[in-house]
Symmetry: C2
Subunit: 238 residues, 2 copies
């Protein structure tokens, strides 16, 4: 359980940009590795925030649960990404729950360790600010999508994002972790039924291929076209 933390990962993490090897070693020593099986929690909405995490291996998702039990997925976390840091800096309890999507391991710095960290390496504060700023922008973009786009477009955007499809990805890409229709629905603000219908249609058209808990993008162009699709423009149907 208490294996060593891969310092290569820390060196690549944006949070520790500008910090040298020797210091990284000490930073690594201040963390504890925590592992969770698929479905396990790193922290739970409402609990007091006592640490921040950096995902080492696996995949995590941050979900909010409403009072009536609906789940909304705020983001997916890939290895090297920081999560759970916001409430450490701005106070309050965890605003959401962090779930392991597959068996996962994260480095965990306690609040005390975090205080020492930021005192010794002020550049971490600046890095954290940049990361959180980036997060604001992403969430604002998702918010705009939710407010202005139809479900089909939002699902298309989500797939492109989850499969890491960039500008130039002529070949196909696939989501490299298990994901259900329900998961996609919680990420895009719709229901699993609608997601199922949409994916079935796309599979018919040959732009994607999907099996249980699995989606592969065959024609990124096609998906991108759907994502960009404008509203029925002008007065069309009558």
């Amino acid at each position: 359980m208490a294996r060593a933390i891969d310092e290569g990962l820390l060196a690549a993490a944006r949070l520790f940009a500008g910090i040298g090897g020797a210091e990284l070693h000490r930073i690594a020593e201040m963390a504890r590795l925590v592992s969770r099986p698929a479905g396990g929690e790193f922290f739970s909405q409402g609990d007091p925030a006592t640490a921040f995490f950096l995902l080492v291996e696996g995949r995590a998702r941050i979900v909010q649960i409403t009072s009536d039990g609906q789940q909304v997925t705020l983001r997916y976390i890939a290895p090297g990404e920081v999560f759970g840091a916001v409430p450490l800096f701005s106070g309050g309890p965890w605003p959401a729950t962090a779930l392991a999507v597959v068996d996962s391991t994260a480095a965990r710095w306690s609040r005390e360790a975090t205080d020492r960290l930021t005192a010794q390496y002020p550049v971490i504060l600046a890095n954290a600010l940049a990361i959180v700023g980036e997060r604001v922008r992403e969430i604002e973009d998702r918010y705009r999508e939710l407010a202005t786009e139809r479900v089909e477009q939002r699902v298309a955007h989500a797939l492109l994002h989850l499969a890491n499809v960039t500008e130039k990805s002529p070949a196909g890409a696939e989501i490299d972790f298990p994901i259900s229709r329900q998961d996609i629905a919680e990420l895009t603000g719709t229901t699993l039924h609608t997601v199922s219908r949409i994916l079935s249609a796309w599979e018919q058209q040959g732009v994607i291929e999907s099996r249980r808990m699995h989606v592969r993008i065959l024609r990124p162009e096609g998906v991108r076209a759907i994502a960009a699709e404008a509203r029925p423009e002008g007065r069309s149907r009558l």
Copy 2:
């Protein structure tokens, strides 16, 4: 135009928490006051980010404009609040436009001033982190609302927020700046028609009172009840 900046406002601003009077004076001197008439812009989506602002007087709103011209309002800014700071710390152009809702004045610190500021007063970095963290939480909450609630509930939440209705506001409250049905629609992800119908109904019920560009909450309880209203038939799982 180049009046002195009210240092009392700076002292009260969360960004400068922990900074003493003498230093505040120097910080104030690093800023320039900029005024905009109602409808004017402090900065515009897509332009390079060259400064951050603190609203001194008036009211501003941050809007994103989609490629097909729809507007989405991300937030309203009250005096004492910082805006436009995120891209200074995480790079990139302005992700949105800042509009003056009424004739407004803001203090503006250039990028160079900001660099000196954070170098001389590192506590500003920590304060900025807390502020941006708070913003993340707010947007995430709005996102969850948009994903899970019906229009009527979202409008109710928005009115309570805009009118500064807190837990204990037995008396009425009102939105103290001009706001149209269209503005409320852009804030809640709906259309002015739907907002108009909703406000008309509420006025019938006597929970609010509204005139052109103006909304007053008569019975906060009533509005809060609507905001909390569960979907017909609670099927609360979990």
